[in-house]
Symmetry: C2
Subunit: 586 residues, 2 copies
Amino acid sequence: MELPLLPLLAVLASAFLAGKLAERIGYPSVLGELMAGIVLGPPLLGLLTSHPALDVLAQLGILLMMLYVGMEIDPSELGRASKGGILAALGGFITPFVLAYWVVTSWGGSTMEGLFVGMAAGVTSLATKSRILVDLKLLDTRIAHVMMAGALIADTLSLVIFAGLISVANPEDGGSLWLVAGKVVLFFGGTWAAGTYLLPRFAGALQRMGTAGVFPVVILVLLLFSEAAHLAGAHGILGAFIAGMFLRENVIGHTVSRDIMTWVRRGAVGFLAPVFFVTAGFQVDLAVLVDSTMLVVIVVGVATVGKILGTALFYLPTGYGWREGLVLGAGMNGRGAVEIIIAQIGLAAGIISQEMFSVLVVMAIATTATVPVLLKLGVTWLRARGELVTARESRTGAIIIGASPLNRLLGKVLADSMPVTLIDTREDHCAAAREAGLVAVQGSALEDVTLTEAGAGKAAYLLAHTGNPGIDALVGRLARQVFSIPHVHLLFDASRMKSSAHQNAKAHVLGETSFTGSFALDEWDRRIMEGSATVCEAPVPTRADGTVLKDELPAGLLAVRRGRDVLPIHTHFKYHPEDILIVLDS
Amino acid sequence: MELPLLPLLAVLASAFLAGKLAERIGYPSVLGELMAGIVLGPPLLGLLTSHPALDVLAQLGILLMMLYVGMEIDPSELGRASKGGILAALGGFITPFVLAYWVVTSWGGSTMEGLFVGMAAGVTSLATKSRILVDLKLLDTRIAHVMMAGALIADTLSLVIFAGLISVANPEDGGSLWLVAGKVVLFFGGTWAAGTYLLPRFAGALQRMGTAGVFPVVILVLLLFSEAAHLAGAHGILGAFIAGMFLRENVIGHTVSRDIMTWVRRGAVGFLAPVFFVTAGFQVDLAVLVDSTMLVVIVVGVATVGKILGTALFYLPTGYGWREGLVLGAGMNGRGAVEIIIAQIGLAAGIISQEMFSVLVVMAIATTATVPVLLKLGVTWLRARGELVTARESRTGAIIIGASPLNRLLGKVLADSMPVTLIDTREDHCAAAREAGLVAVQGSALEDVTLTEAGAGKAAYLLAHTGNPGIDALVGRLARQVFSIPHVHLLFDASRMKSSAHQNAKAHVLGETSFTGSFALDEWDRRIMEGSATVCEAPVPTRADGTVLKDELPAGLLAVRRGRDVLPIHTHFKYHPEDILIVLDS
């Protein structure tokens, strides 16, 4: 069969333009792609048309997409999820599931259709979340943490139920439920064993192969797991998702994992998945909106109300209050990509009617559209009431790059309240750090093995203080991109680099400037070595009304003691009047 | 249409295993993939089978492959190609073309078939070359340069002729040659104008979008150019190739270009193109080898003899001798990927018979298989005769990273014979360099804009001498990977880094150690500033028989004067007895 160039070009060009447009007005690009399919495709204008070859590319696109979704989920995090996350996920899944099932079966739908629509109503799309959280500056709040964990559990849960449903619906097995269940259990057991015991055995060999060598292996594992899911009577996307969950850093290494995730993301989000979403839009029957307006309104309504109220209700036992529960529910109401994938598979398998498929597409669009609006309102409400709680960060400890005298001294200060690891290429510096009772790793912080050894995967702070602006910037970028360390501080030494260059590097790294501004590293190193610098403590300079006078902070300010914590500071640090300053004095 | 998971998995698994096997014994992986298709597919064992959906993926694979081949070709280099390269390309194309045409038409083939087989015989596959050149350590020899330029010209030439042929063969136009010619000319003119004038206008906007933003644009341009080629009556691969030629650094920036080439290479070489090569093997009719053994032997014979003798004959006017011409011809005898792509399109278009297609596949395998063997023999022969000439490097000049006193002094020394540019983040160092009459760029050498500004695209040497081993290694890697600078030297300062770490970095960068070994940068900087170090010249220490005594080279050796050239040295530098050493003395 020929690759249809013109239809593919038309579909992709529409997808990219509509996706950009959606992003511009604050929505995930998948909404734009669906709309492009509906408006430009057969349902309305008929400018775009389907083609069997496009289906092939679309299916490859969703396999890659599910691989990517899986790669973003760390199975060990599922086990560590907070009570709040589990409750929110369960409430937000079960309530809309039950309500939607009840509506569909009351409306005359089959049990199977009811279960399928229920599942679609229960989905919470992970991919559409993180962008909004960044835009609303929520990443370090508790609701963001609960929401991410909740979406993760809800997605995994709905995919497992999906596997069961699609297997039962599979006509090949002649309806023997034991056989169906046995195959599904075998599939989950087999993939779990392969992912947990078999793949990690090849970790060493894989990590030596580099990205070019590992890439084809990832593609093969993806197809193998997908085919296994297919054989088990479930759908290939389930295998793709599970393959992604197991092809992680621990198996293929940090850098290779990032490279491959980048490839998969581009191949899926930037190329093939849009083909899927546009052609999914093709299958919408707009007459449904007119003929069954009631059904649409009711299904979308119960999905939304069920999601929000269900989340809030199940969240009550956490004691974090019904308001936080409502905002959580509003944030988890987006269904986006995963729901469309499930709905399209249901349609293709003949489980749901085209009418119901159209309702589900409308539900995906409508509910995803509510998220930015409702979440923003909710967050503003919580913030105004002072109830927007910062997350108890699961990451702790600081990594300091550079083990010069100043850094060793800073390390000692911080080590009072958190684990501190220093990294330096120089043996003498590392030895001196160890003599001072600190943990030091000798090696280049630019290599991810060194950072891994220093515990970067669990660190809350990375202080890049080598004094070499280039190195500091690069390590900072690595810490951000590969290890997702939330707080990255770069040293700024005016004698070594221009302020504009530092600002540039900082912006690039999304980091902060260490200390209170320019800091002459060599000078302080020399003074410390000479013994002319001592550490002392001082109160925060405040006005009579208690506001902090940032301009009057002492030079040589290293860190702040707040209660039992000692915190590294930066130029945008928010001081409390009761903080105690730890100052290097000479 | 369903994506056929099991057939795709089987094809890819065979492709990867056979490809790895081929590489292990020194051949390009495409040979293994073809063989897998022939042996495991319908022609022999019948374990693998075709599927229409695989064709779709295979076609997407060759579009990506041709995009990649195009991205590797710099059109401005085509214009600057040496006389030798042009002659070798012409001779190596025309001679097998004419001979194969004559054989096929004498054998009863149509004119069109003759032209098509001629073209396939004339092809020289670029992708299969570079690996062998590296393995045989030929990269800096004249034959390697001529071969690369020749392959480039021959590939471009054969694709242009291919466009013409396939247009003429296109039944839609009813055979009006004027219409056909007009459309082809319009296509070349249109894409050339779009690539030369239109795309560069968006360079600024594209470079600000980053890789994630540019990637969909590249896919759209690829499809647009392919569809334009299709509309002009030629084949889409021609559009893909031309799109690649114009989507270069000057349009999308160095880093984005490298990122996208990496993506395309992985998507093509590591995923979809193998589907094409395996399924191409499916179409081979092994009966041909038995029934038309004579035809196979003659076609492969005239292609090989024509390529080697034709290249040598046309190369004579360069005055570099018939021996070098023969070795060149042997090196350019590989046809690999591009020939298979052309043959498969000829088969699909009904221009060549399945018998002839099978002959062409055998030709691709047989001729590519000769390359490593014949080239190795030829090179050994030339080397033994002392006729293996080092290329007159088209790159000149050195970039020194770091503008400390030692680097400024080294810069002055080298500037006697080549352009020298220093890069430093420190303003005072740059000012001092400029005062000394040197060219200095202030900025971070880790950003490709700085290296571009310093002329890294044309530099022969990059001396990473910041004294910071991490920075040096990273700049060296950037110089190699993004700017392909042939000589990268890293400073080794034993007081700052362990020898093993330096060796590691050097191996990673594929660079050399600057000077004669460990070099105490700070120490020499201090002496130079104090005025206690002076530059003097000395003869090379030699034994009575003229062999160089490397162990007796003086400390502080900076560079070597050889005739009118001044050359940077490294630990593996080959000294000549008549060289003059430039030494820093204190």
